[in-house]
């Protein structure tokens, strides 16, 4: 049986990072629905992230997206975050939202565009130096829409060149996390379409380059926990961009579409030692709350990761190992299902009380009147959104 004290200690130490962009308006190509009380700049996004941390206790940092979160003084933004009880997390460069990037950024056939993109990546490392961020989180929208449009090989070489330049610029305590995605916005080839491509580039670069797994970026049927276990085993799992999907990169709340999959992923993490801080696995959300209110959706998402983690921690590892060794298919599966079927909400309520926060974060937030306050305060200016 899993040790209750150890389980609680692990849960208390968990660190889930929320993304600044999830607090702003988002949508699909068909429509971005506007919501009330949405932050208008990076400072207000930090405030919202701090709110989520205040109610959950396990979300003490916020990831930034540059240039969406561009500010005059990053050290000041970091100090603001500290004042709110959180810190600034991963830096996410954006090299896909200018007309120059129509045919790609670092893989663009035009050297001038590649140069521009690379300069932005390097600028983001400067920002990391200012914010104290440890992780540079790279996602490239690069790819092509039509067969023949560009050379797959040439684009790989351009990618290698840019990654090398950025990697060499990193400071000793900084990492590069390389995300992959099957498709969208490119619809024929994507230059980093799968974990294998990301892994190969990371191995080329060095040990501080690691793969970033976004749970919504796979082909249908892909076994994500296999990838997680494989990368963790080879010390190449940099972290997650958590969200969930029924179809493509739907960016729904993590755990909303397939809570059992999230549990299986967290089980590989727990069983493989990935919860230990030394292993450096970053647990970050990357979601779009197109139709639901942002802050409670993020609280819900943090809780979903936490609940999956709690269930994973409850797996009786000895019993599991025994059944596996004996080839007891049903028995080994039952050990895992027993943990999944357990209702961990009472355990987590206990943990929260112990941590001095409300045992029911959603109800507490709803009671708090915080949303009405935001709605009243955030009335002028332009709401933040994708692209702003």
């Amino acid at each position: 049986m899993a040790d209750r004290t150890a389980v609680l200690a692990a849960l208390r130490a968990q660190h889930i990072e929320t993304p600044s962009w999830a607090y702003g308006n988002s949508g699909t190509r068909f429509k971005v629905f506007t919501q009330e009380g949405v932050p208008r700049n990076a400072y207000e996004k930090v405030d919202d992230a701090a709110t989520v941390h205040r109610f959950t206790g396990v979300a003490p940092s916020v990831a930034l997206h540059i240039p969406w979160d561009t500010v005059q003084d990053y050290a000041d933004l970091a100090a603001h975050a500290t004042g709110q009880g959180i810190s600034l997390g991963a830096i996410n460069p954006n090299v896909f939202q200018e007309d120059d990037y129509r045919l790609g950024s670092v893989c663009n056939p035009d050297p001038a565009v590649r140069q521009k993109a690379l300069a932005h990546l390097l600028e983001c490392v400067d920002i990391m130096d200012a914010t104290g961020s440890a992780d540079l989180s790279l996602w490239f929208a690069d790819g092509t829409n039509y067969p023949g449009q560009d050379s797959i090989r040439a684009r790989q070489e351009r990618l290698s060149e840019a990654l090398r330049a950025v990697y060499d610029r990193l400071g000793g305590n900084q990492r590069m996390l390389l995300e992959y995605k099957l498709f969208e916005p490119s619809f024929y080839t994507t230059d980093v379409p799968d974990w294998g491509t990301s892994y190969a580039h990371c191995v080329d670069l060095g040990s501080r380059a690691q793969v970033l797994v976004d749970t919504g970026h796979h082909a249908p049927g892909t076994n994500i926990e296999f990838i997680v276990a494989f990368l963790l085993h080879r010390a190449r799992l940099g972290g997650f961009h958590f969200n969930s999907r029924f179809y493509a990169d739907d960016d729904l709340m993590v755990g909303a579409a397939d809570p059992f999959q999230l549990f299986r992923i967290m089980s590989e993490i727990v069983l493989g030692g990935g919860l230990e801080p030394a292993n450096g696995v970053a647990f970050m959300l990357d979601q779009c709350h197109n139709i639901e209110p942002k802050i409670p959706a993020l609280i819900r998402s943090v809780l979903n990761v936490q609940e999956a983690t709690a269930k994973a921690l409850l797996i009786d590892a000895d019993a599991l190992h025994r059944a596996q060794s004996e080839g007891d298919v049903l028995g080994a599966n039952a050990v895992v299902m027993d943990a999944f079927n357990t209702d961990v909400r009472p355990l987590l309520a206990e943990l929260r009380e112990d941590m001095g926060i409300d045992p029911d974060p959603i109800a507490a937030y709803n009671r708090s009147g915080h949303f009405d306050k935001l709605r009243a305060e955030r009335t002028g200016g332009a709401a933040a959104g994708w692209g702003a």
Copy 2:
């Protein structure tokens, strides 16, 4: 052997409709890239559609999207089209781009929103009366993102009610085409997710309600030509929204991703009699040219449909039937592949010369200097795009 004269006659009579919105800027949720020379209003979109017809000879109508193509006087727009040598085609209502539609349009839980959406649909029938359009092309973005968010059954009832009201409003020579789509922008349920749902509603309504097949709206692995053959056989195939995809609803140029699939679809059309105007199958494009220039992309797309049709017409139907009856698997397949492997470009060049147009439409357009003219002329104002 297919009769050459009949093949040429069928090709000459073909009618492929282009969509007004494909001439404007489009993109993904990540970025809409702006292009030069893009039309700024419905009149200029009609002009571009007329250009495509001028170079291809088989694209004599343009579909409208309301309110993107709202004008003061639809009869005047129709006259403008006539003056350019084309006509106005299907009317496509838009009930997804206002904040009111966050939880759906005709399936929204709020009766006031449903009423508003219905009013727009009915207004579009008024526009059909003014433009002389025969087809109301309905696509609903309606659906939900999270399990439990709304009742699947209640939404079906609301859908039935709205469709009935619109159907009853149609004039005697007007049809309702009901499109289906697996997902996007809704990511859990979609209220008309597949052809079966559309078909069931059409059967409820009456013979002038027919299914609209968008070639990009299916689950991976779906055999689209089966659906086409099935619906045509039951007189419920209203028409197509052509485009192509490698992944989801990528909206690439039709025939770009899987020309063999397009050929198989057109083969079912030809063999099932769907090319005969009496069967009322509408061949419409519905694409986004995110990174490639609009007018040549639409010319290319029209040619792709035409080439697939030509190949389908070349199938030796007698030989095919004979091999099928004898259970000759390889022989029957070979009859079909023989048509597909034929290079039909010389045949189509001949057809075009016969029709008095350039045998190579793309080269002719590129030589024409038309794009430079548009680029020079269309400089002020706001370029049309999704949402404008």
Copy 3:
């Protein structure tokens, strides 16, 4: 809040049918692994089904597959079942395992083969008369492997003709359940590939023709609960063939791959009234236990359906309806998730004690020594398997 007494009553009344063929050996095209203690004929399969019922209390019938379960005297087999405390359920004709069926059964281009297949279907109705079975469960492996191999339309007409002949032969209390499947063993077209095709044929035939949903027979990304809700709403949901899959028609234990999906399906059933016997929804398993022992796997599967049903019954329908009406996305989702996250095992243990069976059926079976007994007894003869 759901009423506990009503929940228990509904669970006590539940009826899950196991399939005779799941007790025999099965496998993939690569290998059928043999297991010990496997039944050697229909009588022994009935015995095993009775064992599953004895330990679960909710599996009081067994489906037969003809000719795999051919016996001299079906009334005698039915009496044997009664003696074991269960009854004979649906009859499943097999028209795919003879060389004659290489190009299909009722859709075969050869009229003699079609005639042979039809004769078998009609013989199965005779067997229903003898066994007292109410449901004829039809699955056709028919389809084609190569484009052009046969005419989609002609095959639909042959299908219609055969279904009509069988439907007209049914007695007044007998139903035809028409199953669909995307692919396998046919790899290009399948003659009943999706629910829409099955539905259209059922509507053609009459009210006693209904759609059978096999949970493993869909394209990736298909929302099965939508189909379930849609068909139930239109009184065309005949029942289920339950199993689960990660990829294709994997035929794993129901609930093993996606317990949340199973819960969503059962939620639509519960909320739509599908648990009421009057609605005639048949809950049948259809699985292959390729590597795990058969009887405990079937017990596990029955329990999985039962647990999903229990969770669905716990949904607070009033609260759900309220949140849905108010457009409270997170609130409505939370009502559903609250039920899913509840651990229903204590409730079901209580139910079982009340029914006079062991609260932990798996443990009880393992303790019982039953498997050792079977292993000792069933030593001569040929083990039953697919095809025998």
Copy 4:
């Protein structure tokens, strides 16, 4: 423009290997249909492969499957092949068709089973020594069906250990080709599920370990030509198992389902230098002709690869490169499509006449009376099939 002489020379030098097992009976888990004239042993399979080479001129070797093709004296079999004008190609060990392999072969939790599997692999290298085969083609059915059934990490370690032992046993001119497959016969995890896993193990082992791409082994939507280009670029593309699929691992004739995809794959091969023998890319078929006659199906398949290669060779590489460099999306795509749309059958007929074979291999085979001869001769004994 591509140089005609060079194109013909490249086509004349092409070498496509057929698999011995495709000449025997095959099927799905539902049924293996028996055919007439099927070979009864390895010698007769070699005869059939020689027949395919005689009619196509480009299929001068045959791959073996051990133990399906076990013979007393492999040198004698090789001599028999030489006498027929072909050679013995890749050796494919089979570690999935014994009851011992229920839970895997080299990844099995039981060390004794792992040892047995490894011994078979090593024995296959002995056979390579006897036959002069250069390639050991490894596919493992290993995996699990249920979450928790076994440890993903432990299985990876067992896999590494076995691969290392085999790799170290290889002779200096021998390679190991490691195949990957998403799923089937394992339905939850597969131990080598994707190219990334295979690539990582190959990199671990050394330069003579390379990835084998089976075109039917990917998740839906996977861009196979990207993988091909990536691996070729890194000198890790060992070769292909060609076949085609609409759904899963359908094992249809290569080019039958998506001829444009096959062309795109061959285009990456041609443009990346993969046709040069020095690059060591093996072009092998791996198919099941479940319902169509074997020998003509293999001739058809060889021709399909040849036609795709011819089209790829016709790509105007200079024009393509120019358009790509200029960012001319439509122009670059047009260069590729122009090659694809060309009817290469006249060119190939010319090539064949030049090589002294019939310009229409299928018609020539059908005229030859060879099948009637086989049917008459091969009457006693057991037809070869999967498993025999």
